[in-house]
């Protein structure tokens, strides 16, 4: 299997690293991108202080065969379940783009 493409965007702190680690452990990822979007939400609910190192809003892009044959809502539930602890505590919003590998 080819190496997974991984990418990190924005400020990457312990929360982002933890998310990336959990996802790559749980799913065989062709693509894994974690983007910290907290700065877009500075001053809003969830990131009221707008601190530069805030880790409240993330975008997660995953391409993994684990999503093959799964409905959108099921894919989201798989990740929600995996990141339950983070979503219950520090992470205020998680935007997800979850796809199976393209078929050739």
């Amino acid at each position: 299997m080819a190496m997974a493409t991984t990418a990190e965007k924005g400020f990457i702190g312990p929360v982002a690293r933890n998310i990336a680690a959990k996802v790559s452990q749980a799913f065989a990822c062709d693509v894994l991108e974690v983007e910290n979007q907290s700065h877009h939400h500075a001053g809003h609910t969830g990131n009221p202080t707008g601190a530069a190192d805030a880790e409240t809003h993330f975008k997660l892009k995953i391409v993994s065969s684990a999503f093959e044959g799964k409905k959108l809502i099921e894919r989201h539930r798989m990740v929600n379940e995996l990141l339950k602890e983070e979503l219950d505590t520090s992470v205020h919003a998680l935007t997800m783009d979850l796809k199976p590998p393209p078929k050739h």
Binding site: H41, T45, L72, I73, H76, K84, L87, A93, L94, T95
Partner: protein
């Protein structure tokens, strides 16, 4: 500054072949009500009480009655408005070529009856003079009609607002009966007109775009919906808000609604019809 959008239209018009240098052609012949108790003015195109070319003055933002004339000084339409400036601007979006000048009669604080009585007086004066109702006011003449923007539907409140301690039925049961009773329900932060979160805003935009009728519930309204913010997450086993339900089923949050909209699956999912 008044009426930037009309100026834009007017500029566009002169750019499309009109004689250069004439500039925006809608000039204002404004009249103003003195005092307030005084009855409406006689309708008159020959003797405006006040006239001026200053564009900033030609569309007062007060309630009042207005008459619009074309280039040949023919009366096109008599309208009444809660805010003359925005009515004139909205006319300009559709019938600018027929708009050359306007009589504007400001009636600050006027009620509907006073507006209607002045409006009626102007129409009658024109009928008396020409034997005809102004062309834009005739039945079946749709061009000058300004549709009232539909009033935003009120959000649904799950309790009469007595507070959590009086809640006889568990919140989850209230959620359950609501999503089963209504075709489409969006649980959002804030309201339709004032969403308080970007993701809720996004979902509202897409639902509006889908043209499917839907209800909203504000999860931040602790007075009427005590504990809803947490209860809705348990109900659907979904950690985030907004949440959209259709025909009793949880459809998804902002990401899923967005992706469905892009794939053309949203309307089908909301109406329960396979596409």
């Amino acid at each position: 500054m008044a009426s930037p959008s009309l100026r834009l239209h007017a500029a566009g018009r002169s750019a499309s072949g009109r004689v250069a240098g004439r500039g925006p052609s809608l000039r204002c012949l404004a009249s103003r009500e003195d005092g307030g108790a005084a009855p409406g003015p006689e309708y008159s195109r020959s003797k405006p009480l006040k006239s001026g070319d200053e564009l900033d003055n030609w569309t007062p933002s007060t309630p009042g009655v207005y008459a619009v004339f074309n280039e040949d000084e023919e009366l096109q339409y008599v309208g009444l408005s809660r805010k003359i400036s925005s009515s004139i601007q909205r006319h300009a979006e559709t019938v600018l070529p027929k708009m050359h000048s306007a009589h504007v009669f400001e009636m600050p604080g006027a009620d509907k009856e006073s507006l209607q009585s002045v409006w009626k007086g102007w129409i009658e004066a024109h009928v008396e003079e020409t034997g005809n109702i102004p062309v834009g006011n005739r039945r079946g003449e749709g061009q000058w009609l300004l549709k009232q923007p539909a009033r935003a539907k009120d959000e649904i409140k799950l309790t009469p607002g007595k507070g959590a301690q009086d809640l006889a039925v568990p919140m989850e049961a209230l959620i359950d009966s609501l999503v089963k009773a209504k075709k489409v329900v969006a649980f959002i932060k804030g309201t339709r007109t004032q969403p308080e979160c970007g993701f809720s805003h996004q979902v509202l935009l897409l639902l509006n775009q889908s043209r499917v009728d839907y209800e909203t519930v504000n999860v931040l309204d602790e007075f009427y919906n005590p504990g809803l913010r947490e209860a809705i997450k348990v109900y659907s086993d979904w950690p985030t808000i907004p949440q959209v339900y259709a025909n009793g089923e949880f459809i998804g949050g902002a990401d899923i609604i967005t992706e469905m909209s892009e794939n053309g699956e949203l309307v089908g999912a909301l109406t329960g019809k396979q596409q």
